[in-house]
C-alpha cells in the first residue's frame, strides 16, 4: 500500500466545512434537514415513551410505600447520638467569653430548638405517665409533653445564655428518632469528660435519664407534635484551671437494646465532642 499522504490543514478544514454544511446535498452535520427532522422526531417519541414509562414505574413503586411508616427499618436498628447546636467546625465548640458574637449563634440555635418545648406550645399535648412506654394503637396518635424546665440550668429560662457567657456552656444531646423503637431498661445519656481535672459534667434531667413515655415514635406524619426527648449537658470547668478545653464522651446507658459501641459507626449510641472556652 502506498503511504497515505498526510492531509493538509486546508484539506481537513475544507472537509470539516463540508461536514458542517454540504451545499450540494443540503446536508448539515452529515444529515439533510428532512433526515434531521425524522431522527429528532424519532428520539422525541422514543424518549417521550421512555419518560412516560419511567414515570409510570416510579409511580407504581411509590404506590408500594406507606405514607406513615417506611417499608423497612432494618438499616437503623438502634439510634445514633448527636449534639445540638451544631458546632461551626465538626463537633468542636469553641468560643471566647470576651467576644459574645462567638457564641451568639449557638444561643440563637438553642432558642430556636427549644421554642417548641415551651409550655404554651405543648398545651395540646398529653401529659403521659412517667416511666412506661406510651404505646398507642391509633388511628390518632398523641404526643407527650416535654416541658422545657426539665432542662433546669440549660433550659434557657434561668440563664438566657445557656451558660455560655459564664464559661460553662450547655449542649443538648439527643437520641436519633427511630420509628417504633422501644428502649428497654432505663435509658440515660451518660456523659463523662476525658479529664476530670479540667471539667465536670452536669446533666439535666438529673443523671440524663430519658423517660420511656416518649417512646415509641410513630413517624412524622402520624405523630404530630412529637417532642424529641433531649438531655442537656453542662460543662463545668474547674475555675482553678486556666486551660479551659475538654473532650466529653456521651453514651446511651442503661438500656440493653440500645447499642453504644460499634467499630464502624462512631455515632451509634455515642457522641464525642470538644469544648474550648477562651478567655
Amino acid at each position: 500500500m502506498t503511504k497515505k499522504d498526510k492531509k493538509s490543514l486546508n484539506q481537513s478544514l475544507a472537509e470539516w466545512k463540508l461536514f458542517l454544511y454540504n451545499p450540494t446535498t443540503g446536508e448539515f452535520l452529515g444529515r439533510t434537514a428532512k433526515s434531521w427532522g425524522l431522527i429528532l422526531l424519532f428520539y422525541l417519541v422514543f424518549y417521550g415513551f421512555l419518560a412516560a414509562l419511567f414515570s409510570f414505574t416510579m409511580w407504581a413503586m411509590l404506590q408500594t410505600l406507606n405514607d406513615e411508616v417506611p417499608k423497612y427499618r432494618d438499616q437503623i436498628p438502634t439510634p445514633g447520638l448527636m449534639v445540638f447546636p451544631k458546632p461551626v467546625t465538626a463537633l468542636e465548640y469553641s468560643f471566647s467569653l470576651s467576644d459574645s458574637s462567638s457564641y451568639e449563634g449557638y444561643i440563637r440555635d438553642l432558642d430556636d430548638f427549644l421554642r417548641p418545648y415551651d409550655l404554651e406550645e405543648q398545651k395540646n399535648l398529653t401529659a403521659c405517665t412517667d416511666g412506661v412506654l406510651f404505646v398507642q394503637e391509633g388511628p390518632a396518635y398523641r404526643a407527650c409533653q416535654f416541658p422545657r424546665h426539665l432542662l433546669e440550668e440549660c433550659s434557657g429560662q434561668n440563664d438566657a445564655n445557656y451558660g455560655y457567657s459564664g464559661g460553662n456552656p450547655c449542649v443538648l444531646v439527643k437520641m436519633n428518632r427511630i420509628i417504633g423503637l422501644k428502649p428497654q431498661g432505663h435509658p440515660r445519656i451518660k456523659c463523662t469528660p476525658k479529664d476530670e481535672q479540667v471539667a465536670l459534667v452536669r446533666a439535666y434531667p438529673s443523671q440524663g435519664f430519658i423517660d420511656l413515655k416518649y417512646f415509641p415514635y410513630y413517624g412524622k406524619k402520624l405523630h404530630v407534635g412529637y417532642r424529641q426527648p433531649v438531655v442537656a449537658v453542662q460543662a463545668v470547668f474547674n475555675p482553678n484551671n486556666t486551660r479551659k478545653e475538654a473532650t466529653f464522651d456521651c453514651i446511651i446507658d442503661g438500656s440493653p437494646n440500645l447499642k453504644n459501641k460499634d467499630d464502624r459507626d462512631k455515632f451509634l449510641g455515642r457522641v464525642t465532642f470538644k469544648i474550648t472556652v477562651n478567655a
Partner: protein, 1039 residues
Amino acid sequence: MGKKTPEIYSVELSGTKDIKKTDKRDGKEKYRGLKNKCSNFRKNDQIEEIKEELDLDDHKLSSEELEKKYGTNIITGLSSARAAELLARDGPNALHPPKETPEIVKFLKQMVGGFSILLWVGAILCWIAYGIEYSNNPSSSLDNVYLGAVLALVVILTGIFAYYQEAKSTNIMASFSKMIPQQALVIRDAEKKTIPSEQLVVGDIVEIKGGDQIPADIRLLSSQGCKVDNSSLTGESEPQSRSCDFTHDNPLETKNIGFYSTTCLEGTATGMVINTGDRTIIGQIASLASGVGNEKTPIAIEIEHFVHIVAGVAVSIGIIFFIIAVSMKYPVLYSIIFLIGIIVANVPEGLLATVTVTLSLTAKRMAKKNCLVKNLEAVETLGSTSIICSDKTGTLTQNRMTVAHLWFDNQIFMADTSEDHSNQIFDQSSETWASLAKIITLCNRAEFKPGQESIPIMKKTVVGDASETALLKFSEVILGDVMEVRKRNRKVAEIPFNSTNKFQLSIHETDDPNDKRFLMVMKGAPERILEKCSTIMINGQEQPLDQSTARAFHTAYMELGGLGERVLGFCHLYLPADEFPETYSFDIDTMNFPTSSLCFVGLLSMIDPPRSTVPDAVTKCRSAGIKVIMVTGDHPITAKAIARSVGIISANSETVEDIAKRLNIAVEQVNEWDAKAAVVTGMELKDMSQEQLDELLANHSEIVFARTSPQQKLIIVEGCQRLGAVVAVTGDGVNDSPALKKADIGIAMGIAGSDAAKNAADMVLLDDNFASIVTGVEEGRLIFDNLKKTIAYTLTKNIAELCPFLIYIIVGLPLPIGTITILFIDLGTDIIPSIALAYEKAESDIMNRKPRHKKKDRLVNKPLALYSYLHVGLMQSLGAFVVYFTVYSQEGFRPSTLIGLRLEWEKHSVNDLEDSYGQEWTRYQRQYLEWTGYTAFFIAIMVQQIADLIIRKTRRNSIFQQGLFRNKVIWVGIASQIIIALILSYGLGSITALNFTMLRAQYWFVAVPYAILIWVYDEVRKFFIRLYPGGWWDKNMYY
C-alpha cells in the same frame, strides 16, 4: 520443519515439454534461461543486493585452500574442542527469528496501549486528589489512594493478561518450529557423529544424502549423483545437480555449493560448512525480509478506532462535567473525583482483554481446522481478505502426479483423480486395456517401500519418480498386487528412462506358461513412441497404423496436452520365440533386439490434480466476494488447466486467447475488456508498468499468473494493495517471505514451507490446503461480527454507569454507584458473557456477502454507538434508577427528599440526617444505605445486561430464529453473571472496602420489567430492519 520426505516429489511440470520435440535438457536450459532473464531484470532489489554483497569465494578455492582457510581437515574433520570454540564464537547454526521486540518493550506496550493511558490518568488523579486532601487534613481517608491503586492494578493486570496471551500464541509458533529437530551427520575427531544441526560450525565436514535438508551453506568436496532442490531459494523446483566442480563465478549459480535449508533429492555428497545460521544465504534473505514493513492489521485499526471513540467520549464528557462541577461551585478536589468516576464509567476496562480472549479462542478453533495463527489479530484479517494470491502446487493441487486420462481404442477415458482413486469408472473390458495395463505394470521401476501393508495405497511411500509413482499407484488400485504381477513376468532386460532416448523399455517373460515369447514393453514421450510403431491396437486387434489413426492419435495427444497434462505413450511387442529363444541374452548396450515396428497401445496422461475440496472452496470464495488469483511458476497451459478445473477461471469465462481462438482472429484484435479471465506470464508481467498491472488487476476478475518468480509475487501483492484490497498470500519458499511479509496476511505452508516463510507469515496452513484458508476466512468474518456484538454489549452498560455520576453532580442525589462497583461490573460480571458472544453462530451465510470495506464497514460504527448508548444504555439507566429509588424509598428516603440531599448526606459531622418519615440517620447508617444502593444499582445493571446479552446474539434476525439455546456458552455467561453477583452481595457483603451489602431478594427483580422491555424493543428493532431492508430504520438502527 518442512523436511521433505521422499514421497513428495516436485511436480512442477511443463505441459508443452513433451509436445515440443525438444531435447529435455535443452528445454530445461531454455526454461531456466528464461527465468533468469526475467529474474535478473526484475528480481527484487534485495536479492540483487545480496548478490552484490556476497563476497563468497569459497567455491573458487581448492580443498587444500579451504582446509587452510577454515582450519579443518577434510578427512578427520574438526576437533570437538575447536568446534565448541567456534560454536561459542559464531553462535548456533539456526536462523534467528526476525528482530524480536524485547519482551520488556512488548510488556510496556501493553501497559500503555489502548485505554490504559486513560486509566493511568485516573489513577494519578486519584493520588493527586489524596495529596490535596492530605495537605489540608492529614487524617483524611485513604479511599482515593485505594481507588488509584485499584485502577493501577486493573491496568497492570489487564496488561499482564494481554501480554501473556500474546506470549502464548507466540509460543505455539515457537514450539511448532521446534517439533522436528534437524540432525546432521558430521565428521569430528575423525569420527562420524550425528549432532543437531544447530551445533554445526564453520569448517565442519558434513555428509548428506537424498532426502536430507542441507544443514548449512556447504562447499561440496565430493558428490555421487547429488541433486538438490533449490526451490526454497530460487523458486525453481527442477532438481539441480551438484558436484565438486567450480562452474560459475556467481556463488548462487556454481554447482559446488549447497545452500542451507535446500533439500538434497538424491545421491550423496560430502561438504564443508562455510556459513552457518544467519550468515547463510537463506539467513541473509530472511533477515532482509523482516525489513519489509508490516502493515497494521485491519482489526488493530478497528480497535484503535474504537478506542479513540470511547476515549474521546470519556474525555469530553469528563471535561464538560469537570467544568460544570467547578461552575456549580464544587471544590476542585471533588470535581477531580467526579472526573475519575466519569473516566472509569466510560472506559470498558475488560473489553480489550475480552477481545484478546475472543481472538485467541478463534485462533484455537482455526488451529483445529489446520490454520495455525501466529499473530492473533491476523484471525480477523483473514475475514476481511478480498484477494487471495494462492500458489498452485500443493495448495490448490494434491502435490502428486496422478493419472487423469487414458486414450485407447480411439477413445479418451477419464480416470478418477480424487484423493483416494476409489472410483475408476472407465471401461475396462476392452482387450486393449488389458495390454495397456500390462505395460503400465511392467514398464515401471517404481516400488512400494516395504512394510506398508496396512496403509491405503494412495498413502504408501514409493521409491521412484513422480510419474512412475503415479502409474504404480494407478495400476495397484485397478489391478491389485503389482509386485506379484511383476514377479510372474520376470524382467530379463531393461533400459531406464533417459532424456536423450525419452523412452523406457523392459523385456519380460510372460506369465503364460504356454507362451514362450518375450514381451517387450515401452513407454515414453508419445511422439517418440509413435515413431517406433507400425501397428496400433484397437479393441484388442493389431491394425496397421495408417494416416487416420495417426491423426486420431495427434488429436488425442493435443487435447490431453491442452489440458496441461503430461502425456505418455505406451507400446509393446511380443518378440518371436524362434528369434529370441528362452535362453537369449539381451544386451542393452548393443540393443540386440528390435526397437521399431512395435504395436502402439495407448496414451495415458497425468496431472497433479486439484485437491477435491478446492473447487468448492473457490466457489465459496467467489460467492464471498473474494478474488482468487493463482500465482505459480508453472507453465501457463498447466496453470490455466488447473485454474479451470478448480474454478479460478470459471467455466464460462474466457481469456483473450480463448476469444481469439473462438472468433478465429489474432490475439491483438480482441478487445481486452471482453475477457473476464487473464493468464499472464512472468515475462509479460515484467514488461508491464505499474499502471498496466493495476489496470489488469482491476479489470479482470479471474487472473492466473504463470511462470512467475517468487519475486514477482511481491509486485503482484503490492499491485493488489494499491487497489485497496486486503491481500492474503500463500507461499512456501524463502523468496516468498518478502511477499508474505508485505501481504496483509501471509500464509505459509506447514508441510512444504521453509522456516523463513513461516517466520514471515502470519499464519501457517498445517495441511497446505487451500480449502483451509476458506474456513479461516469464514472464522475471521464470524469473529468480526461477534466482536461487534461483544463491543455493543460492553458499551451499553457504560451509560448506566455514567448516568449516576451525571445525576449525582447535577441533581445532587446520593451517589447511586461507586467506582469500585463499576469495576466489578466491567471486570467481573460482564467478562464471561462478552466472551460467550464469540461462540455465537453466524446469523446468515457470512460467505455470501462481500468482504467488508476497510473504510466503510467499521467495527464500531455510528448506529452501534448510538443504539448502545442512547437506546439500550438509556433504558438500562432508567431501570437501574428505578431500583435505586426503590431501595432508598423503602428505607425511608423518598425521591423528593433525595434531590439535593447530596451535600448533607456526605457530611461526616451530620449524624442526625432526617429522612422522609422523620427518622434520623448517622453518617455510617447512611453510608451503609448508600452501599446498599450501589449493590442494588449493580444488580439492576447485571439483570439488564442479561437481557442485553440475549439481544446481542443477533443483529438482524429474531432471537427465536437464531435459537435461544443454541449457544450454550451464553447460558454459562448468564449463570456466571448471577453467581458472581450472588457472591459479591451475599458472600463478600461484609467486607466494607468492596462496598457491597446483602441485598433483599426482591430487589433483584425490580429491574426485570426493564430487562424485558430491552428485549422487546430490540425484537421490534430487528423486526422493522427485516421488514424494510435498506429503509430509514435499517440505515439508522442496524449496526
